[in-house]
């Protein structure tokens, strides 16, 4: 995990110097301004989103869900997780904590892959708030149909990768949720 954190900051340093080389200080300031505006809009939402996920993890029987989408549930578990992910409302700040809770509860890695992909493709709130008003329902239908099998495909591919790489078995972060 430490290597990932270092990698991210190194990438940031490289990108920042690229922006500086091309646009100088004003470019870097504009980029930081974009980040600052996003951070400001997240400052209230993110803590409450994390709280929501933590409360739900305490209140809901996550263990029972894990038996439906556990690692041994195979294709059926992947299909169910893809559907559950598609029903999940809200942006990344609620979805990823919820995915983590289900992963910690005992879901299999391919099932979680299908869950996250299902959410990222179908996210209904995004369709209603942005996609349909901007692109129209006809485009929404075309895109949904074109993408409908992708979450299941992602789950199956993840399953194959884990089967082919002995010793590779992604585990959830050990945070006491």
């Amino acid at each position: 995990m430490t290597a990932v954190i270092i990698g991210i900051w190194v990438a940031l340093a490289a990108l920042t110097s690229a922006v500086h080389a091309r646009k100088g200080r004003p470019g870097v300031e504009a980029g930081a301004g974009f980040a600052w505006r996003t951070a400001k809009s997240l400052s209230v939402r993110l803590p409450f989103a994390l709280l929501t996920a933590a409360f739900l993890a305490e209140a809901l029987p996550v263990e029972r869900l894990a038996s439906i989408v556990g690692p041994e549930t195979g294709l059926l578990g992947i299909v169910v997780s893809a559907g559950l992910g598609g029903l999940l409302p809200g942006g990344p700040m609620t979805s990823f904590p919820i995915a983590l809770v289900i992963f910690q509860g005992g879901a299999g890695a391919p099932q979680i892959v299908a869950f996250i992909t299902g959410w990222s493709i179908f996210a209904m709130h995004r369709v209603i708030a942005y996609e349909a008003p901007i692109m129209g329902w006809s485009f929404v239908a075309l895109r949904m149909l074109s993408c409908s099998l992708l979450p299941i495909l992602a789950g199956l591919l993840a399953w194959a990768v884990i089967a082919l790489l002995p010793g590779f078995n992604p585990a959830p972060l050990p945070i006491p949720i």
Binding site: A30, G31, A54, T117, L142, R143
Partner: protein, 177 residues
């Protein structure tokens, strides 16, 4: 700072989930959820900050008008590939990406490229990987999900072209439908 409606939605969600948690598990469950949410926030915050800054810098490096012109003129597999790369590099939420989809369409991109762009933005977006998935899901699962999702946008784009050929689904002006 004035709270927006979305902030109140998150506060309301957290309060409803908190009430549910109190009703099912009592105060000890509420306290343990508060601790879990705090711990998670503490762990993901540094990576989140770096991710937001990376998004800001990418925003400064990419010339949107040029990308739009380039994509509008391309077709075939090259168009799908370019659209997928552009989608993966687009930072920010749906309020950034869907206006770009609209711009691409008016610039002449075909349905396949538009669907590949949206599929890439939602499944292999680098920004979301760095800001949300790596911190919450850990490197193993995040990298696995990302790797198996790489071919998905192309598959979605090909499916969209096929659907346009065999069905009556079309991309049309949002105000027409």
């Amino acid at each position: 700072m004035a709270l927006k409606t979305t902030d109140w939605v998150f506060i309301g969600l957290a309060m409803a989930a908190g009430a549910l948690c109190l009703a099912t598990g009592g105060w000890s469950a509420v306290v343990s959820a508060l601790g879990a949410a705090g711990g998670l926030l503490w762990i993901v915050l540094p990576q989140l900050v770096a991710g937001l800054l990376i998004g800001g810098m990418i925003q400064e490096l990419v010339d949107r008008d040029r990308v739009t012109r380039l994509l509008g003129a391309q077709s075939g597999m090259k168009g799908l590939g370019l659209a997928a790369v552009a989608g993966a590099l687009t930072p920010g939420g749906p309020f950034t990406s869907f206006p770009i989809v609209y711009a691409l369409w008016t610039a002449g991109a075909d349905a396949g490229a538009l669907v590949a762009y949206v599929a890439a933005w939602s499944t292999i977006g680098i920004h979301r990987l760095i800001v949300w998935e790596l911190p919450f899901m850990g490197a193993d699962l995040a990298v696995l999900r990302y790797a198996v999702s790489l071919p998905l946008p192309i598959i979605a784009g090909l499916a969209a072209r096929w659907l346009v050929r065999v069905t009556r689904l079309r991309v049309q002006e949002a105000t027409d439908s």
